[in-house]
């Protein structure tokens, strides 16, 4: 299984905010055990999705030159469970960006269970949770010694997310 906990960016405003979507499919391995007969998305993985949305926002702000690692979840609240079949929307706003690190405010919404509005999830969405997430930029000199030039954080798939977002935006605008 690949460690991707968002499916696509819906909006991306460099250095400011981002919105991503995560579809919860019953076919995902996580639901086999969490829980049999009652597929609840683990809150930790919702946080991971928010952190990936926020981490790419932070990484892009420095052209993916920094190794952005999740350092601290300052605050997190969950209001309800998210079940298989739901479509989660992750909204992240950049609060601080400095050479040493960054912080973001994130919120998760989804259409209420029993009243899904597929394709227009924002319309009747209710809050699933919020979190403030703190990222550190790994010290360049030190991480160079440990990892070399390779940026293991933004090595491939996470960075390709933005490419997918661009394709979707073009299609939406009727371009080819």
């Amino acid at each position: 299984m690949r460690w991707l906990w968002i499916d696509r960016f819906l909006e991306f405003h460099p250095g400011k905010s981002a919105r991503a979507v995560k579809n919860l499919s019953l076919a995902e391995d996580v639901f086999a055990e969490h829980f049999p007969g009652y597929p609840v998305m683990p809150a930790t993985l919702i946080l991971e999705g928010l952190a990936q949305t926020g981490g790419i926002l932070v990484g892009e702000a420095n052209d993916f030159q920094e190794k952005v690692v999740l350092a601290k979840i300052i605050h997190a609240v969950f209001h309800r469970e998210a079940l298989a079949g739901e479509q989660l929307i992750y909204d992240v706003e950049l609060l601080h960006l400095r050479p040493e690190g960054a912080s973001v405010q994130g919120k998760v919404t989804s259409a209420p269970i029993g009243d899904p509005v597929i394709g227009d999830p924002g319309k009747t969405a209710t809050a699933v949770g919020e979190a403030e997430i703190f990222f550190a930029h790994l010290d360049k000199a030190r991480s160079q010694q440990l990892f070399g030039d390779h940026n293991f954080v933004f090595s491939g798939e996470l960075k390709h997310m933005l490419g997918l977002a661009k394709v979707a935006a073009k299609k939406k605008n009727g371009e080819t």
Binding site: A71, K72, I74, L95, H96, R98, P99, E100, G101, S103, F134, A136
Partner: protein, 129 residues
């Protein structure tokens, strides 16, 4: 300009949020790492919050200098900070109370200079300018 008490109250509230500690754990002499359990990443969080709370800019390494001595033998010998090291500390951190540290300048004790009072004095100095 806010009074020292007002600054202290805001600094306390900031630390309660950043370190998830109870308000009654915050005392002027409380050390961030020893008494309040701060880890290295918390220092950056504290800096972000102070900037937002007081509307100031805190340049990197000004409030919490990182690796002040870099293993320089002129500054540290046998695990103790030398006189030259002490004057370097005073120059870099004029807002820190070094009176206790000077009596027993063990390098490992530097973390104890980071107290609630120290942050309050730093902010006072920043706002005064």
């Amino acid at each position: 300009m806010p009074t020292q008490d007002e600054i202290y109250a805001k600094v306390s509230a900031t630390l309660v949020e950043a370190l998830n500690v109870d308000e009654d754990e915050i005392k002027p002499t409380a050390t961030l790492q020893g008494d309040l359990g701060a880890e290295s990443i918390d220092f950056l969080d504290i800096v972000f919050r102070l900037e937002r709370e007081f509307g100031i800019k805190i340049p990197r390494g000004e409030l919490f200098p990182e690796a002040i001595f870099q293993g320089d033998p002129e500054f540290v010998q046998d695990g103790k900070v030398t006189d030259k090291g002490l004057s370097e500390l005073k120059a870099r951190m004029p807002f820190a109370d070094l009176s206790g540290f000077e009596k027993n300048p063990e390098l490992t004790g530097i973390g104890d200079l980071f107290t609630v009072d120290m942050i309050t004095r730093y902010i006072q100095g920043k706002l005064g300018n």
